[in-house]
């Protein structure tokens, strides 16, 4: 299929981008890496009258640590999350998840902002941002604001972004050497969206878990924090018993979709298997 005809704008600044969007009377779409939007256009699932290409706006780039926060510009590409030393040090969950996102060609173009704005419930980065209590920096005609990840992902493909608003950057409390992280997912083929995925971040100064953050993907209509599973670990040793309790607590945390190919019970089962394997591996490494 061929995309419907559209008009194309390439602003050089955030302000120009907002204006270019507004001029299209609501019938516009921002385009970043284009890895999700272009297929949608080609399938005519979306047919905006105007594309506003934000890929050339310098303000949307950059990776830096400022006052205990790691700032990732919205245009940060998947490949940079995989390779950049600051990400490896301060947001290891993103670095661990990156190789599981699609394939190299897509990771070279796809952007973190695009992944977050799209909010696919099976996407890796949104779930990891949720685990890390990231904050989304949003700019729109009404000004700028910061929205915590927990409030940002609202429903299936629905976020706190209002039409015309632009995701400018992601801010992540910088992790330090005390944080231990693990990520894995189950996919039928390498690079596919996962059947279930899970990221874990623990602080364990001794052998007792001080703080636990667990987020899962592909097991609900948004990425999900597994608060009950986290609670099952906090204040406890990482041993077979606490791990089993955390696994079983996932039933309270997750709300997997049910379809003929992948029943809800299977996604819950897979998430439990994953969590068990991740925690088991962390216990062994400890």
């Amino acid at each position: 299929m061929k995309a419907r005809a559209f008009d194309y704008a390439r602003p050089a600044s955030v302000a120009e981008a907002l204006t270019a969007f507004e001029q299209a009377d609501g019938d516009a779409s921002y385009i970043a890496g284009g890895q999700s939007l272009v297929p949608a256009l080609a399938l005519r699932l979306q047919a905006p009258a105007r594309l506003v290409d934000i890929a050339h706006i310098a303000e949307l780039r950059g990776i830096a640590v400022e006052e205990g926060w790691l700032r990732l510009g919205a245009l940060t590409r998947h490949v940079e999350l995989h390779d950049h030393p600051l990400v490896a040090t301060h947001a290891p969950l993103l670095a661990l998840a990156a190789p599981h996102v699609a394939h190299p060609a897509i990771r070279n173009r796809g952007t973190l902002g695009g992944s977050v704005a799209l909010a696919d419930p099976a996407a890796e980065f949104p779930a990891m941002l949720l685990a890390m209590d990231a904050e989304m920096e949003i700019t729109g005609p009404e000004g700028s604001r910061r929205v915590p990840a927990g409030d940002f992902f609202q429903d299936l493909y629905q976020t706190a972004l209002e039409p015309g608003e632009l995701l400018v950057a992601l801010h992540i409390p910088a992790a330090g050497p005390g944080h231990r992280c693990a990520f894995d997912e189950i996919a039928r083929r390498r690079g596919d969206y996962a059947l279930a995925g899970c990221g874990v971040m623990l602080t364990m100064p001794g052998d007792i878990v001080d703080e636990a953050r667990i987020a899962c993907l592909a097991v609900g209509s948004t990425p999900l924090r597994a608060r009950a599973a986290e609670a099952a670990l906090i204040g406890r040793r990482l041993d077979p018993d606490s791990i089993r309790k955390a696994q079983s607590a996932l039933a309270d945390d997750l709300d997997p979709p049910d379809d003929a190919e992948v029943p809800a019970a299977m996604r819950l089962h897979l998430a439990r298997v994953l969590l068990g394997r991740l925690l088991g591996g962390m216990a062994e490494a400890a």
């Binding site: 299929m1 061929k2 995309a3 419907r4 005809a5 399938l43 005519r44 189950i186 039928r188 083929r189 390498r190 690079g191 596919d192 969206y193 059947l195 003929a260 190919e261 992948v262 029943p263 019970a265 299977m266 089962h269 897979l270 298997v273």
Partner: protein, 791 residues
């Protein structure tokens, strides 16, 4: 020329040599020219509005708004095209009692599957045609869709199409007699119910057609991504009433076909009609979404099988019931009954038992039509047979390899025939199995398996013997009344510079047909391979022939080339003898030179002979008519089919918690008779294995109860990819067919025929200690977790 074929120590001894494909570099360099690449002056583009319903009546079609859209040249409905094209019916005479509703390019009153093309738009660009297609208003009145094979066969069931009395397309029974008594008296009887999902070809290049009607000359030229140009020349001629000689079909570079590109598709017939109406070239290329809902699908069988064995594990009998679901009609001109027919006839083929009963029911339903795709019927027959053999072995307390050693037809028992009537000339099941056993180090692998099981690692080993049908005679289609040729033709010429041109009717889709034809011609003529240019795929230049299907290119096309080259060589030597005042018997043609047959001393070059023939015929002796071009046809006349055989092994590791299977390694030992090019044979086998493993683990066209395809995109329909594929080790046994000089049989379907069977056995082997059992492919994680009791 006295050295035997396949001996590699002669000059120009290319038969049996791994030589690379001459066209590979061109394709790699991006110089391939596919139908999609073609641009003709005044060319227009077609797009189709498709039915959103699996079954519906067309109440009205309003095309007014679409006609007014920018760039639109024509909007055509079923009624517009019906006057140009006579209807077709997908039946064959030798399938007694088979029925199917007549078809037209676009429907008049009723749509029969979701995705069926309903209205065509022709515009200056494809995007404009799609814009206009969105503006067409069609009122559909939904009819009950037929989507379940059992409900479809109950009396009074809703019908999949109004033109048929009931939903049974074809039924056949085979019975050697006395089965009930044999089963009643057998020491062991095993049974299983199998489900084989639908899958589809997913060629890299989708279907594409560009039709060009020259009204001045009354000539139709069709550039068509097909494997069978002559078949389409005939069909376009007859259904559109254009003289055969005025229809030219050109198949340029083709990006894979696998049997999918030899069926009549409604859009293709429509495009011919659109070109006739517009009097301008019209192009249509299926996009990937359209491919999923309009390319043929394959398989979709439910097979109930029983096998009887005696106390020692000797197989006594098999009893099978195959119900296969096709579309709402049978495809044309090869039908949708061939796959089921091959399933029930290939069942049990590698084994000695003589008692067999089968029932086949081919059922209409409101889905995309199914038809021939790589290894037609073989994977189903093979998986059922081989799984039953494993189940019977377990019951009789035999190792799977020992069970096969005991029951395979012995290599010295040929010729013989199968209980279903297939005639086998010479197969090598035992030799292949022995070679496979050595190749996989079977005993060591079993020991490793046992050791790993103790550590909670569940690996499985699966074995599957198979036969493959190749080199079909007219017994396949010709006797059924289809104008599908079983013979091939070649025109061979020596050019004025002493080079060679070979125009041949077998075609190239990436498998290397042109390469092996070039090897055979060069080898048999006695010239360097680089001097031979092979031309295929144009009905105006190459002689009529069957082209490419059912593994016939090497066996039939290759023999055609061989015989043609020998005849041309005789002509060359006769002419050289006249020039040299020698006798042809004293001369030979080696490496482009005429030499003394005895000593090998050069007498004259082929280029010089050609120069004299073309430019200085005045110097030739009187009455010498140089015949440096010949046309030769060859049709198989011995056995109706040249069966091939082999055995595959699959080694897997099952993650019992996730249901994911890692395919560790796959082995194939096969016997395709004379191997012309080992490199290409191995790659054919490997590609075939990958398609078989795709069917085993990934590929499935899933429908909901309303007849909607729910995974019709490459995001949701999983094709096997490199990361998940194992190393594939290929070994050979060579038993040439004595029906031809060349002795080659087919190898293109061997990999696909048994890969899914070996995988099915391997996964079951891995699950056996855990009590799991599966008889359905693809073996998805959900199905495996269910059979393990995990969900």
């Amino acid at each position: 020329m006295n050295a035997p074929l396949g001996s590699l120590d002669r000059p120009n001894s290319y038969i049996g040599r791994s030589v690379p494909r001459p066209n590979a570099k061109r394709l790699l360099a991006g110089r391939g020219r596919y139908v999609t690449d073609l641009v003709l002056p005044r060319m227009l583009h077609a797009a189709f509005l498709r039915s959103p319903y699996a079954h519906a009546r067309i109440a009205s079609i309003d095309t007014e708004a679409a006609r007014a859209m920018p760039g639109v040249r024509l909007v055509a409905t079923g009624a517009d095209l019906a006057g140009l094209c006579t209807p077709w019916t997908g039946t064959l005479d030798h399938f007694k009692g088979m029925k199917s509703a007549p078809q037209l390019p676009l429907p008049l009153e009723e749509v029969l599957w979701s995705g069926q093309a309903v209205v065509a738009v022709v515009a200056d660009s494809r995007a404009q045609a799609e814009d206009a297609a969105e503006a067409i208003l069609v009122e559909f009145e939904e009819l009950p869709p037929v989507t379940d094979i059992d409900a479809a066969r109950t009396p009074g069931a809703d019908r999949a199409a109004s033109g048929i009395e009931d939903n049974l397309c074809f039924r056949t029974r085979l019975d050697t007699g006395g089965l009930d008594a044999i089963f009643a008296g057998a020491a062991h009887v095993v049974e299983e119910e199998f489900h084989f999902g639908r899958h589809t070809a997913v060629t890299l290049e989708p279907r594409a057609i560009l039709a060009d009607w020259d009204a001045g000359e009354g000539k139709l030229t069709v550039h068509h991504a097909t494997q069978t140009p002559y078949q389409f020349q005939d069909l376009y001629s007859r259904h559109f009433g254009i003289a055969e000689a005025s229809v030219r079909v050109i198949a340029p570079d083709i990006g894979g076909s696998f049997g999918m590109k030899l069926h009549v598709y409604h859009e293709d017939m429509a495009v011919i009609g659109l070109a006739l109406m517009c009097r301008r070239p019209v192009k249509y290329v299926a996009d990937r979404m359209e491919s999923f809902v309009s390319d043929i699908h394959a398989r979709d069988h439910r097979v109930r099988a029983r096998m009887a064995v005696d106390a020692e594990g000797t197989i006594l009998a098999m009893d099978v019931d195959d119900v296969t679901a096709i579309g709402a009609f049978s495809t044309y001109p090869r039908t949708s009954a061939v796959e089921g027919n091959q399933v029930v006839r290939l069942m049990g083929a590698p084994y000695r038992f003589r008692n067999y009963r089968a029932e086949l029911s081919v059922v209409f339903q409101n889905k995309v039509q199914t038809s021939q795709y790589r290894a037609v019927g073989h994977p189903v027959a093979c998986a059922v047979t081989e799984r039953m053999v494993d189940l019977a072995a377990a019951r009789a307390g035999l190792d799977p390899v020992a069970m096969r050693e005991k029951n395979l037809i012995p290599d010295e028992a040929y010729p013989c025939d199968s209980p279903t009537g297939y005639k086998f000339e010479a197969l090598s099941h035992q030799a292949c199995l022995a070679k496979l056993k050595a190749l996989i180090e079977y005993d060591a692998l079993r020991a490793e398996q046992a050791a790993l099981r103790a550590r909670g690692i569940h690996r499985g080993i699966g074995i599957a013997s198979f036969v493959e049908i190749s080199n079909p005679s007219p017994a396949f289609y010709g006797i059924g009344g289809a104008r599908i040729s079983a013979q091939d033709g070649a025109t061979l010429s020596i050019t004025p510079s002493g080079e060679v041109r070979c125009l041949i009717s077998v075609t190239e889709q990436g498998q290397g047909t042109e390469t092996i034809i070039g090897q055979i011609v060069a080898d048999q003529l006695g010239v360097a391979r680089e001097k031979v240019r092979v031309v295929t795929g144009d009905t105006e230049t190459t002689p009529h022939g069957g082209a490419t299907w059912a593994c016939r290119g090497a066996g039939i096309g290759g023999e055609t080339a061989l015989q043609a080259a020998r005849r041309l060589r005789d002509n060359v030597l006769a002419l050289a003898a006249a020039i040299l005042q020698a006798s042809p018997g004293q001369l030979d043609l080696r490496d482009g030179r005429i030499v003394d047959a005895m000593g090998g001393a050069e007498r004259i070059s082929l280029a010089e002979v050609a120069r004299i023939a073309y430019f200085r015929s005045d110097t030739l002796p009187p009455d010498t008519n140089a015949q440096l071009s010949i046309t030769h046809h060859y049709a198989p006349q011995g056995y109706p089919f040249a069966f091939t055989n082999g055995v595959q092994g699959c080694h897997v590791e099952l993650d019992t918690d996730t249901g994911l299977v890692k395919i560790l390694r796959h082995w194939v030992v096969e016997d395709c008779g004379r191997i012309i090019n080992p490199l290409l044979v191995d790659e054919q086998v490997r590609g075939g294995v990958v398609q078989g493993l795709g069917a085993a683990f990934f590929e499935e066209c899933r429908y909901d109860a309303g007849g909607q395809l729910t995974n019709g995109s490459l995001a949701d329909y999983l094709v096997p990819m490199a990361c998940e594929m194992p190393d594939i080790v290929v070994g050979h046994v060579e038993t040439p067919t004595a029906d031809t000089v060349l002795g080659a049989k087919g190898c293109g379907e061997a990999g696909t025929a048994a890969a899914s069977a070996a995988a099915l056995n391997a996964v079951n082997d891995a699950m056996a200690p855990l009590g799991g059992r599966i008889a359905q492919i693809p073996m998805t994680p959900a199905r495996l977790l269910k059979s393990l009791g995990k969900i």
